[in-house]
């Protein structure tokens, strides 16, 4: 027998099983019971038609499959803030569930949910679609909601005090002078924290040596770049 011939031998490779079907939910089940009253009231006041992310995902999935979208003919793209809070649960996070549901995912962005890959990203992505296939694009920012009903903050695992969410969005707002005249100590602390967070993000993005300082002349180029980007987005 030639050493190059193939004979049907038993493979030792583990067989790959298809992923289990995503859990489905009773969309009529009460879900606000787990929320403290202040949190529930704030959610109703500020985001009145919001539902658990996995409910929304399931509703959208059922609609799209009724229109002919399938895992095989659809490619998923998303622009969701990379904050780990948005990607820490495969059961409940809407982005993670959509990624599992549709099989492939092309990230379009971006801090605060902005699709920073732009036309270049979309152009590249849209060349990946199977013939007669479809695109599903999901996008948007995020915001924290504490148990006391405070909007714009959230407790992260292992941290006693809440931090801003979305830090990038609040940081950009602060950089534009949004809270400049406020005497509210919480706002001042929030702005200070947001600026610190934003500074760290800028330093990380442009890979500048933090020891040189953002405001020194040696890093002014990085600051200008960031300013231009913010200006462009807001305009």
């Amino acid at each position: 027998m030639s050493e190059f011939s193939h004979s049907p031998v038993e493979s030792n490779q583990p067989k790959i099983s298809p992923p289990p079907a995503l859990q489905t939910y009773d969309l009529t089940a009460p879900w606000k019971a787990a929320m403290p009253a202040a949190q529930s009231a704030a959610a109703t006041k500020h985001f009145p038609t919001a539902l658990p992310g996995h409910f929304i995902e399931q509703m959208a999935y059922e609609k799209l499959t009724s229109l002919g979208f399938t895992e095989e003919n659809t490619v998923f793209s998303f622009s969701s803030c990379p904050d780990e809070l948005n990607h820490d649960s495969n059961k409940e996070d809407i982005t993670n569930r959509m990624k599992q549901r549709w099989g492939e995912a092309f990230p379009m962005g971006g801090l605060a949910g902005i699709p920073f890959t732009g036309k270049t990203g979309w152009g590249a992505f849209s060349h990946h679609i199977p013939e007669q296939g479809n695109i599903l694009a999901m996008y948007g920012p995020h915001v924290g909601l504490t148990e006391t009903g405070r909007v714009g903050s959230v407790h992260r695992p292992g941290m006693e005090k809440p931090t801003t969410a979305c830090g990038a969005s609040i940081g950009a707002y602060g950089a534009l002078g949004g809270e400049k005249e406020s005497r509210d100590p919480i706002l001042q602390a929030l702005k200070k924290a947001a600026k610190k967070e934003e500074k760290e993000e800028i330093l990380e993005v442009v890979e500048v040596d933090p020891s040189r300082g953002l405001e020194s002349n040696s890093t002014s180029e990085a600051g200008e770049k960031h300013d231009q980007q913010l200006h462009y987005i807001v305009d």
Binding site: Q39, I129, I135, H142, H155, I186
Partner: protein, 96 residues
């Protein structure tokens, strides 16, 4: 910005900021994404039966035992022939 500055209540200001951030994402996304990919390069790939759908909204990171929430603000579909259908009401109800 003007609306944000005029809002006295801190929580109101933060929620308004999240809606404004969505608007920025939505407007910028509109300049980026389109259904043009279904209508050009017809000789290379066939997309006559294709469609693209978008869903946009705000994710609410909920402290404590409750699940994170999502506020859908837009859900629609565009077919290869250019027809656009708003799917919000029929999927999430008239109030959405």
């Amino acid at each position: 910005m003007a609306k944000l500055k005029a809002t006295e209540d801190f929580d109101e200001r933060m929620s308004t900021l999240s809606y404004n951030t969505f608007d920025i994402s939505h407007d910028y996304g509109n300049t980026v994404a389109s259904g043009a990919w279904m209508r050009h390069n017809k000789t290379a790939h066939l997309y006559t039966k294709s469609a693209w759908s978008w869903i946009g909204g705000i994710t609410i990171n909920v402290d404590g035992p409750a699940s994170d929430m999502f506020l859908p603000l837009t859900f629609g579909i565009e077919y290869a022939n250019g027809t656009i259908v708003d799917l919000m009401a029929e999927t999430f109800g008239e109030e959405a």
